[in-house]
Structure formats: structure tokens, C-alpha cells
Point group: C2
Chain length 470, copies 2
Amino acid sequence: MIGAHFCLTTPSEVASYCKEARNKFFGKCSLVLKPGSTREVSDVVALANALNIAIVPQGGNTGLVGGQIPDSSGRQIILSTERLNHIRSLDADSNVVIVEAGVILETLQNAADEAGRMFPLALGAQGSCQIGGNLSTNAGGTSVLAYGNTRDMVLGLEVVLPDGRIWNGLRSLRKDNTGYDLKHLFIGAEGTLGVITAASLKLYPKPRDQQVSFAGLETPDQALALFNLARAHAGSMLTGFELIPRIGMEFAFSHLPDTRDPMAETHPWYCLIELSIGSDAVDGRALIETILEEAFEAGLIGDAVLAENTRQAQDFWRIRHGLSEVQKHEGGSIKHDISVPVSAIPRFLERAMAACEAAIPGCRLVPFGHMGDGNLHFNISQPIGADQTAYLARWEEINALVHAIVADMGGSISAEHGIGTLKRDLLPDVKDLVEMELMAQIKTTLDPKGLMNPGKVLQMVKANTKDTKQ
Amino acid sequence: MIGAHFCLTTPSEVASYCKEARNKFFGKCSLVLKPGSTREVSDVVALANALNIAIVPQGGNTGLVGGQIPDSSGRQIILSTERLNHIRSLDADSNVVIVEAGVILETLQNAADEAGRMFPLALGAQGSCQIGGNLSTNAGGTSVLAYGNTRDMVLGLEVVLPDGRIWNGLRSLRKDNTGYDLKHLFIGAEGTLGVITAASLKLYPKPRDQQVSFAGLETPDQALALFNLARAHAGSMLTGFELIPRIGMEFAFSHLPDTRDPMAETHPWYCLIELSIGSDAVDGRALIETILEEAFEAGLIGDAVLAENTRQAQDFWRIRHGLSEVQKHEGGSIKHDISVPVSAIPRFLERAMAACEAAIPGCRLVPFGHMGDGNLHFNISQPIGADQTAYLARWEEINALVHAIVADMGGSISAEHGIGTLKRDLLPDVKDLVEMELMAQIKTTLDPKGLMNPGKVLQMVKANTKDTKQ
């Protein structure tokens, strides 16, 4: 069983596990367990099951929807995966790595790099988030366009089920049609169906060259046309396509040290384009120049600037990655993480921006993100000089406004951040009833006592009743 | 409800639905229903559920493991998806197509092509298999290396559940983290959890150029090295990498009209290499020549020949696609559809070929297939002049021999064909016990009466008991 040293019980020890960095979600907890092996995870979960104690699995504690935070009852225990931090094997020839849940994403990226391969998942929190959390939330990030979401990088899983059984599904096969594909049930389930303890993941060839460019445009319609043009030319070599409004650039220049406008003139919208070249036979520079020249001739862009070296490419990306952070300096921000079909992005922006401007005159719209995936962080900074508390009190009202447009366009109210507790009660309104029923059926089947991360994703009435009776 | 014209009841009408092309699997059935809409599928399934009648969903009837064939009781009814044959929508800008289950794969390929896009799934039966069957078996084929299995091309599903409820999960989003990912449960479930009636599928940019080459080699180790070299140079532009033994080539030249050896000298092994170029900036010819030159200099290949035009490229592929067919002319063939980690292919071949040669002196080993995916069709033609019936009587014995080696190497006994009835009873021996339990739990939850394609994939004791009581 777990050594006493890895069972945290004092308030000062458990405090950092009970809240997340933004102080948006916090709960109570008198016990944090840090098992050091899958066996120990299994023992903890089996014992908790026998004692009817609820477990909240936690990785790097970087989730944005509260999925990793216990409730306020003080009766839930946190199971931290931080000691499950071994890379069990790396087979460069087969392009497979087997890692434990507590491995930091950046550690995995570096291990792949040292082996002459790439693990493409990339996101702001990569220096502290753990792969188990990435899997449990099916993390997105900036490489989805070419490599898919986290689930697309998974070949197999090892999971401790709610009753303590260990499912060893750690296969390393590209093709395996022997029965139901169970791994996808646990990926993105936010720890409500079991604890992912290890994963077999795909590695990819390392790009030999990357080209990064900012293009300035007038409208989102032009951005969509530019995306299609770039994809037609570069095919699978188009690995990044991000949309940023002028105000986002300005926020970055104001609040992010060492940033400056890469262009001489201003433009209402910007696209950040990245090409990744895997082959010596491709002249990456000529390719991106061709795309930009054609776009210019077609009247899609007003100007464009190419990163001259890796450093400059990183500077371009730093503007994009800093957009969430810099918004904090501009007062309250009401946020959305939405997706619609890619071609619907311009129409969505038109409708949602008009609706928000009508609802909050003077609000500053900062919709940015993964245009190539149809995923925008539709964030709205408060009007200059407005009262922050009063502004943020309108969060749910504005969410409802935006999400109604999303629903009308067949979109998603959580494209990459998940549900947690933040959006749990919105789910029944946007999901097919049959889908909600199926989710509840599966939750009840795998976790009949409702002890695995209760209250996250789904509000199970039965599970909750039990919880309050303890 | 379904018109009488679409309810087949006479023996001559139902006969072709009760067996498959090779006459390997056959059953009895007195009713074939051909619903024309999702609503009608739902009505049929709900009624069958109320009456405790088992349903066997069937698409193009091209499956290779018996999954689409009723049992011998005569009490199961076949639900054919052939009239669900509409392409509901195609959005080239979003790269999304929504198709009904009965659409023929080739029809979908052509529709995508006409819209300036590509639907990459490609397999021998594409002229008659239906997309619903492709989804239910998670079909593989020759484009998996670059585009993944069928499940990787799916954005959303519409499914009629075993009780007749319709789950509308037809989303067209690249990113959607709102709860459990249910679609992957139905993909590859071979109709045992419900009837897939429609799907939202990804479209891809059409390649601008393709380069196809045959290379002649001495050993599978060289083939693995060549694969890694090609992938390092071409990255995601390497879209096909197939391995063929000399005897497979000879079978093709003997039995496939208008084929001839593309090379002057013979080689023990051949690799068929395909590059697909999405960009004007890439000189595909120079790229494949670079790969082959480096391989030649490194001593990996003895010779290579490039297809000079599309016609010749098709001729090269025709040899590969004809390999199953030509084996029929050489007497009985004991077949396997296995996968191992890609880097383990040479070692697997060494072990499995030695074991088979020891067990059946004079047998002719024809292992071929998707080397880049770690998936081989490990087929063994009978010794020349052997008695076919006596040879095929050893099917299970040889399967056991080969599958033991597969299991020892962490492989799969069904890489792309599925389980059906053919491999159902092998499954408990190769699967983790917890995984078998999880599959049974999910089957029982979604189909408590065991009426959806009973006896396929899983032998549910309870379901079977009920079945025999009817």
C-alpha cells in the first residue's frame, strides 16, 4: 500500500490540490493520495469502493472546467497521478511510446524529440499538465488540424475501473478489430468511468522544416477562403491555422513583454499559418510564398509577413499562446470554447458578435483560436471602465445567448476544454435526450455506486443521493 | 411502415442474403426487411424488440467473418440497409459528408471526387460494400497508413438502438468534448449494439500527384528499413506501403489476366510504395527517386521500378489487390488477418513461417499486406498436389499455432476483418479477462434481451438461452 509519506492530510499539504490556478474552482478535501504504481491505484480505488468513498482523480491540475477539483463536502479524496511518471518504453521503429498517466506533456514531447520522433500534442499548459489529464479531457491545442485531438494519438490504455479491477488495454497496434473499442469510452470521460493509469501513444516523424506566417485580412470570410487555399496547396503539411482579431493583437502588444506588431499597417483580422515539412523534397519557403502570393492576387489578404527563423516563428506563436493571459489585464472576460463546422465560422462570428454587442454595448470582442478546426475561444472583455463584478455576473446570460447560436448551427459548447462542473448543467439543454440517457446508462454500468469523480460531466441523481447520505 | 414490396419472404428472394460470396458462411432466414428511412428502421427494431425477435443487420454482404449472416435457426430476421442509400449532404468547405448506411463505398468515393475532395477508405470490395458495413466492422484497407481506419474518418453517427430509440449523433465537428464519445462504441461493434443508419464523415484534399513503385528486396528486415526511410523522407505523403512475397507475385502472373513481372530479375520480397502529393510545391517524382536511390545505396533494395503513368500505377496495385483472389487457383488456403507492432513484422514472419513449414512440410507461405500498419494477411496455400479437404481440416490447428505467436508478440488476431462468428470463440483466449467482462457489461446494458446480431463478436450465455427458448 501507499507509504505514509504519499498520503497528504494536513490542510497546508492538501490546499494546492483543492483549487486551481485561477481560483475559479475550489473544494474541500482532507486526504490526497499519491499512489506510485497501477497496483497501488487499484488498491486505493477498491478500498474506496468498499467504503463508499468518492474519488477525484487529478493530474497536473490545469483543467479549465473544474473536473479535477473536489466538491465542498470535504468527503471526497483526491487521487493524484503525479508519481505515475515513468515512460515505460519507447519504440521509435514502431512509432509507439508507453507512458504512465503522471508524465508531464513536455517531458513526453522531449523524450520523443530525443528519439528522433515527435509527439504532436501542444497546448499552453504543456509544462505542467499530465498526459493522464490530457487523455481524460481529450485535450485539443494547436496541432489538431494535422494530428487530431488527443484521442487520435492513442493506441491503447491501462485503466483502473471504479471497482478496482485493472483493464490492461495497452496495445501498440495500428489495427485491431477484436471487439468493442473501449479506450474511447475512457478518453474524454474526465475520470468519471475510471482512472487512466497508462497509455500507449503514437509517435510521428519530426518535421524537417517549419514555416510560420502572419497574414492580415479584412473579414472572417477571407480567412475561410485563405484556409481552403492553404490546405489545397499544402495538404497535410498545413499544421496550424489560427484566427486572431486586431484587438487580440493589441492586447498582446500591450501586456506581453517583448512583442511588437509584425506588420506596418493594421488589419481587422489576422491568420497565423504554420506549415510543417516532413520531406527534403519540399521547399517549404517556396510553398508558403506561393500560398500567400495567390491569396494576395485573389484579394484575400492585405499583407503578410514570414518568420525569417525559428526564433521569429516562436515570437509569432507567443502572441497566439498569450491571448488568454493578456485578457486578464483588460478586466473581466466572459469566455466560450465553441466549435461549429469549419465553413460556418464566418457566419457564427457575424451572428454571435452582433448579439453580444447588442447585449453589452461597448464590450470588447476577442474571438480567437483554431479556425482550421472550427474551434474558437469566443471571449468577451468587459467595456472599458465597467464594473468587473457586475460584468461577470452576466456570465450565464451571455453564455446562453452565444450557446443558442452555437446550437442553432449544429455546434459544440465545449470544443476542447470538456464539461467538468462548469458546463455540466448546460449539457442536457444542448444534447440529444437519447445521448444523455446512453451516457447515464454507461456511467451506471461501470460505476454503479457513483464514486468516480461524482458530479462531473453528468449529474447522476442516484449517485448524488448516496453521496449526501454518507 | 415498410411497404410489402420491401419485405422479402420467399426462399428465392431471401437466399442471397443468407450466404456470402465464398459460401463459407450461411444461415436460414424467412424474412428480409428493407426499410427506407431511419424512422422505418426504428419501427422495425422496436417491434422486433417487443416480439423478442433477433435482428441481423446487413450491408453489402461482403464481410469475411460471418458477421452479416443469420444463424441456422431460421428465427432471425435480416435488416438490409440497401435502401438507406442517400448522400444527405456534402459540404466541401467544411470537408464533411453525411451519408446513409446503405451508400456503396465507391459511390461515396465518386461523390467526394466530383466535389474536388477525396474519401480515402479503399478496399477490394469497394464496388459493393456499404458504408454502414464499413463502419460496423471498422474496415481497414490500403489507405490506413495515411488516413487511419474507418473510425478515424468519422465525425458523427445516427444509430437505432436495440430498443428502437434513435440516437442522433450526426455532428459535423472536428472538436467536441461534451461528454462520453459514444460513436466509437458502435463503430466496429458489428451491429451487436444497434444499427448504424447514417454517418457524418470527413473528406480530405485530393492528391495532385501520386507516385507508385515496386521495389525488390531480400528480407523483411530490409522492408522495415525501407519503410522507415520512406516515411522519414515523405512523412505524411507516404500513403501506401505493402509487402508481397515472390510466390504472391507468381500467383498473380499465373492467374490474373494481363499481368507481368515488372522487373527483369526475381526477388524474394517486394514492397509496393505509394506517395500521394497534395501540393504543387513537391516534385513527387524526385521524392520517390530520392527514396529509392538512398535505399539502393544503403543496400536495402536490389532493384526498383517506377510507374510511368496512372495506368501503370493501377497495374501495380492490381497485382496487390488480386492476391486473395489468385490464391483460390492454388487450392486451399488457411488464412490469418494479424497485426503486430510495425517493427515486429520481420521477427513475426521469421517465427510464424518456420512454425508453419515445420507443421505442414511443402506448404506455400503467402504472407502479404499492409506492412506500414503492422498488418499482414498471413495466408498459407496447400502443398502442391495435397488433398484440399484434408488440408483445410487443419485450419484451427494452424490458426492456433500462428495466433500463439501473435499473442506472444502483443498482436491482434483480427487486424481489420473483425470477429463475427469466425473468431468469436478465439476471443476469450487472446483478450484480457477484464476486457471481455467490460464488453459483456456494455452489451447487456444496451441490448439486455440480446436481440441485436446475437452470437456475433460475443457469445452471451444469457442472450443465447433466451434465443433458444423462443
